[in-house]
C-alpha cells in the first residue's frame, strides 16, 4: 500500500496530539463508543506509519490486559465486569499503540529541540554528547571491571572495591567530557545559541489534529 508523501505525514505535533487524544478521549465516551479511540489509533498509525506496535509483542502487555479484564469481571460480576474490563483494556491498548507510534516515528532529537524551544537550552547538545558517550562509558565500565576481577575481584571489602570501580569509571568519563568541552569551545560553540530548530508544523499534523477534533465531535453527538 502506498504511504502518504512526507508533507502529508504527521511529525512530532501530530503524533503527540494522537497520544494526548488517546489519553483524554476515552474519558468522554461510554458504552460501545469507548472502543472508538482504540480503532482510531490503530487505523491512523497503520495508515500513516507502518504500524510499529511494539507493545503487542510484549507478554507484559497481554498479562496486564488479561489481568485487567479478569479482575474486573470478578469484582463487578461476569457480564457487567467483562464489559467494563474490555473497555478499560481498549483504553489501555489505545494509549500503548499511540505511544508506540510516537516512539517509532518521532526522532528523540525533535523532542529535544521542542524542549529547548520551551526553555531548556542545551538539551539537544547534552543529548548528543550522552548518546555518543554511551558506548565508551560501557566499554570503560567493562574494562575496569575486568581489571578488578584480574586483581582478585571485590575481595573482603566489596563495597569499597565497587566504590573505587565507580569512581574510576566516572572519573575517566569526566576526563573525556572535559576534552569534549575543550573541542566544543575551540569551535566557538555556545549553549546560548540554539543548535537545533524545532520541527515545523506540517500539513499532515494539521490534518490529523483537525480530523481527531472532528471525529470527537461526531462521537459525542452519536
Amino acid at each position: 500500500m502506498r504511504r502518504p508523501s512526507a508533507i502529508w505525514r504527521p511529525s512530532l505535533y501530530g503524533w503527540l496530539g494522537l497520544l494526548a487524544w488517546a489519553i483524554t478521549a476515552p474519558g468522554l465516551f461510554g458504552d460501545a463508543r469507548a472502543y472508538a479511540p482504540l480503532i482510531t489509533v490503530a487505523l491512523v498509525s497503520w495508515l500513516l506509519g507502518e504500524g510499529g506496535w511494539r507493545s503487542l509483542g510484549s507478554w507484559r502487555t497481554w498479562l496486564f490486559l488479561g489481568g485487567l479484564i479478569g479482575v474486573t469481571a470478578l469484582a463487578e460480576g461476569i457480564r457487567p465486569g467483562l464489559g467494563a474490563g474490555l473497555r478499560m483494556a481498549a483504553r489501555a491498548l489505545a494509549i500503548l499503540l499511540a505511544a508506540d507510534a510516537l516512539a517509532l516515528h518521532v526522532p528523540a532529537l525533535d523532542l529535544a529541540a521542542l524542549l529547548e524551544a520551551v526553555g531548556l537550552p542545551g538539551l539537544g547538545f547534552a543529548l548528543g554528547v550522552a548518546f555518543n558517550l554511551l558506548p565508551a562509558l560501557r566499554q570503560t565500565a567493562l574494562d575496569s571491571w575486568q581489571a578488578l576481577r584480574l586483581r582478585g575481584g571485590p575481595g573482603k571489602q566489596p563495597l569499597q572495591s565497587l566504590r573505587r570501580w565507580a569512581v574510576t569509571v566516572l572519573a575517566r568519563a569526566l576526563a573525556r567530557g572535559q576534552e569534549i568541552v575543550d573541542a566544543a569551545e575551540s569551535r566557538a560553540f555556545t549553549p546560548s545559541r540554539r543548535q537545533v530548530q524545532p520541527p515545523r508544523v506540517r500539513r499532515g499534523d494539521l490534518l490529523l489534529l483537525l480530523g481527531l477534533a472532528a471525529w470527537t465531535v461526531v462521537l459525542l453527538i452519536m
Binding site: 489519553i23 476515552p26 474519558g27 511494539r54 507493545s55 509483542g57 496486564f64 485487567l68 474486573t72 470478578l74 469484582a75 463487578e76 467494563a84 478499560m88 483504553r91 489501555a92 494509549i95 500503548l96 505511544a99 516512539a103 517509532l104 528523540a108 523532542l111 524542549l115 537550552p121 542545551g122 538539551l123 547538545f125 547534552a126 543529548l127 548528543g128 554528547v129 550522552a130 548518546f131 558517550l133 554511551l134 562509558l137 560501557r138 565500565a141 566504590r163 569512581v167 569509571v169 566516572l170 572519573a171 568519563a173 569526566l174 567530557g177 572535559q178 569534549i180 568541552v181 569551545e185 560553540f189 555556545t190 549553549p191 546560548s192 545559541r193 540554539r194 543548535q195 537545533v196 530548530q197
Partner: protein, 202 residues
C-alpha cells in the same frame, strides 16, 4: 551548525557535558544493569535499579551545583532511552522524569545541598517507585481501575482473618526498603561527588 536565536545561558558548556556524562551513566544503569538484575531475579530489583540511577543523577548534581541539574539529567536520560528503543517506553520514561523532578524539588531550597538534602532527595525520588505502577496503570486503564483495587483489598481482608496485619506489614516493607535505598543513594552520591571533585582538581 545551524545558526539560531540566542537564548540566555544558565548551564555552561562544561555543565551540559557533565550533565551528559551522568545521563549516560543513568542510561547505562537502565540498559545494561537492568537486564542483569531482571535475569538474576533479585528482590526489589526495580527499586535497586532506580537507586543506582538516582546515584548517578545526584552525583551529577554534586558536580554541577546548579538548580535544575537533576531534572536535566533525568530528561536527557529519558530521551536517551527513547533513542535506544526496546519495547514499551512510556512507563520507564515517565518514571525517570518524575523521579528526577522529585529529587530536584527536594534539593531546590539549597544552592549547595548537604548530605541530609541529598538523602532526602534520594528517599523522595525512590518512594515514587511504590506509587508509579498505580499511576501508569491508572493512566492506561482509567479511574475504574481504582474501584477494582478497592474490591481486591476488601476481598482479601475478608478472606484472610489475619490479612489486615500482614497487609500492613507488607505495605510497610514496600515503603521502607525503597526509602532506605534512596537515602543510601543520596548519601553515597554526596561523598562520591566530593571524591570526584577532588580527582578533577588534580
Amino acid at each position: 551548525m545551524a545558526a539560531g536565536k540566542s537564548q540566555s545561558t544558565y548551564f555552561t558548556t562544561r555543565d551540559l557535558v557533565f550533565i551528559a556524562v551522568f545521563a549516560a551513566a543513568w542510561g547505562l544503569v537502565e540498559t545494561s544493569l537492568g537486564s542483569y538484575l531482571h535475569a538474576a531475579r533479585i528482590p526489589f530489583r526495580g527499586a535497586a535499579l532506580t537507586a543506582l540511577g538516582l546515584l548517578a543523577a545526584l552525583t551529577g548534581r554534586s558536580l554541577v551545583p546548579r538548580r535544575g541539574t537533576v531534572l536535566m539529567i533525568g530528561l536527557v536520560t529519558a530521551l536517551l532511552k527513547l533513542l535506544s528503543l526496546g519495547g514499551v517506553v512510556l512507563s520507564p520514561l515517565l518514571a525517570i522524569v518524575i523521579e528526577s523532578a522529585l529529587a530536584e524539588w527536594a534539593l531546590w531550597p539549597w544552592a549547595r545541598p548537604g548530605r541530609s538534602a541529598f538523602a532526602l532527595a534520594g528517599a523522595l525520588a525512590e518512594l515514587w517507585t511504590v506509587i508509579h505502577p498505580f499511576l501508569t496503570q491508572g493512566l492506561l486503564a482509567g479511574s475504574g481501575l481504582f474501584t477494582v483495587y478497592g474490591w481486591l483489598l476488601q476481598s482479601t481482608a475478608q478472606a484472610l482473618p489475619w490479612g489486615s496485619k500482614v497487609t500492613v506489614l507488607l505495605v510497610g516493607v514496600a515503603i521502607l526498603v525503597p526509602a532506605l535505598l534512596g537515602t543510601a543513594a543520596g548519601l553515597i552520591a554526596c561523598s562520591l561527588g566530593r571524591e570526584l571533585q577532588a580527582r578533577l582538581a588534580h
